[in-house]
């Protein structure tokens, strides 16, 4: 209440913000007969016009555009501080580092980037959003004979991806197609196996 009491009032008692709120409407009977309200309407009209002119001038004023070098430096800092997430071994039989110190791992962020790119370039016009990668520990029942020699060694992943899909498509077909695309892409591009892929359709969008 205290803040409302701070609202400036005209000599006729009306709060200034009420005059402002009614500015787009024709003057009321009170306003037609009140010199204070009429003066306030003219003042506020004048301020509105000046504010609009100021906004237009800002758009055209090069001094009020942030420099490209400022934006570039912000992006450079962000890239230097990329949250890469955990290191995930490429082969579940080995640790992240070999005895010789060679790095045989990939960051969670790098895998997520590959997954998102696979979705963004799909024929569905889907948009990838958040992507979570988890390592699936080997199941002793999955013998090398069952998985195939190469698959048995590759690290197995669980992928959870939220997406926005174009409206008007059968969602289950699109989701199945995207799952297959991720499964193939992760294997072909990274040599990993996505054994579980959860697609969460978070939103629908119109194709432009």
């Amino acid at each position: 209440m205290a803040s409302l009491d701070d609202t400036p009032r005209l000599l006729c008692g009306r709060p200034v913000d009420q005059v402002w709120a009614d500015l787009d409407d024709p003057p009321t009977a009170h306003e037609l007969g009140c010199p204070y309200c009429q003066a306030a309407r003219h003042s506020l009209d004048n301020l509105t016009a000046a504010t609009q002119a100021m906004k237009l001038a800002e758009d055209a004023d090069p001094d009020l555009q942030p420099s490209e070098s400022l934006t570039a430096s912000i992006v450079t800092i962000a890239r230097a501080e990329v949250r890469r997430g955990r290191r995930i071994p490429l082969d579940h039989h080995t640790s992240v580092h070999t005895t010789t110190g060679a790095d045989l791992s990939i960051s969670e962020q790098a895998i997520a980037t590959v997954v998102r790119d696979l979705i963004d370039t799909s024929r569905y016009g889907a948009e990838a959003r958040r992507c979570r990668i988890d390592v699936d520990l080997p199941n002793p029942e999955d013998s090398p004979q069952r998985l195939g020699k190469e698959d048995a060694a590759a690290t197995r992943l669980q992928v959870q991806l939220s997406v926005s899909l174009p409206a008007g498509q059968p969602l289950h077909l699109a989701a199945n197609d995207l799952r297959a695309r991720i499964a193939d892409g992760v294997t072909n591009k990274l040599g990993l196996i996505a054994i579980r892929i959860d697609i969460i359709v978070e939103d629908l969008h119109d194709l432009t």
Binding site: M1, S3, L4, D6, T7, P8, P15, V16, D17, W20, A40, H42, S43, L44, N46, L47, A50, T51, A53, M54, K55, A57, E58, A60, D61, P62, D63, L64, Q65, P66, S67, L70, T71, S73, I74, V75, I77, A78, R79, E81, V82, R83, R84, G85, Q109, A112, T113, R116, A128, R129, R130, C131, S162, E202
Partner: protein, 173 residues
């Protein structure tokens, strides 16, 4: 937004480019100094990048961004006040228009007058007025950005309008 929250730098860059101009103008109007404004903008975005994963409501991004930018700008103003440095006189220079010389000169003078009046508003009124009237935030968004109740925003805007309208009266047609 979700991808930037996930740590995708390309998505973060798109976010920066989308909001940069409006944020920059707000901060310039708060600090009245382009150099200080650039420092504030950089610190604001670095802070946003580091804290983005903690933002739970994506629809609240814009007020959250301005909240961080506003706090950084206030820190600059406080530091300037401690150093007793005079506020730079950077009334924004209006660009030239297609109008004739006399009209152009009058438009120029009118705009300088409004710029000066805005710059002379107390900081809390200026932040409210610029966020709503220039940057187009709603009252609740402005309240969120400034950490005050909506009723306070309403009161500050009324006082800012009153002050600016009075100051612009000599320019009434």
């Amino acid at each position: 937004m979700a991808r930037a929250q996930d740590g995708d730098p390309a998505a973060f860059e798109a976010l920066v480019r989308h909001h940069q101009t409006r944020l920059f103008r707000f901060v310039v109007r708060m600090t009245r100094d382009r150099g200080d404004a650039e420092d504030v903008i950089q610190d604001t975005w670095v802070s946003v990048w580091r804290r983005l994963p903690t933002l739970t409501d994506r629809d609240a991004f814009q007020p959250w961004l301005y909240q961080i930018g506003h706090r950084q700008a206030l820190a600059v103003l406080r530091a300037r006040s401690r150093r007793d440095t005079p506020t730079p006189d950077t009334a924004l220079e209006p660009p030239t228009s297609e109008a004739g010389p006399q009209q152009r000169s009058e438009d120029h003078a009118r705009q300088r007058s409004l710029d000066t009046l805005v710059a002379e508003l107390p900081v809390d009124l200026r932040a409210c007025w610029v966020l709503t009237e220039v940057n187009g935030l709603t009252y609740p968004e402005t309240a969120q950005a400034l950490g005050v109740p909506v009723s306070t925003v309403r009161g500050r805007i009324a006082r800012a309008r009153h002050q600016l309208a009075e100051g612009m009266d000599p320019w009434r047609p």
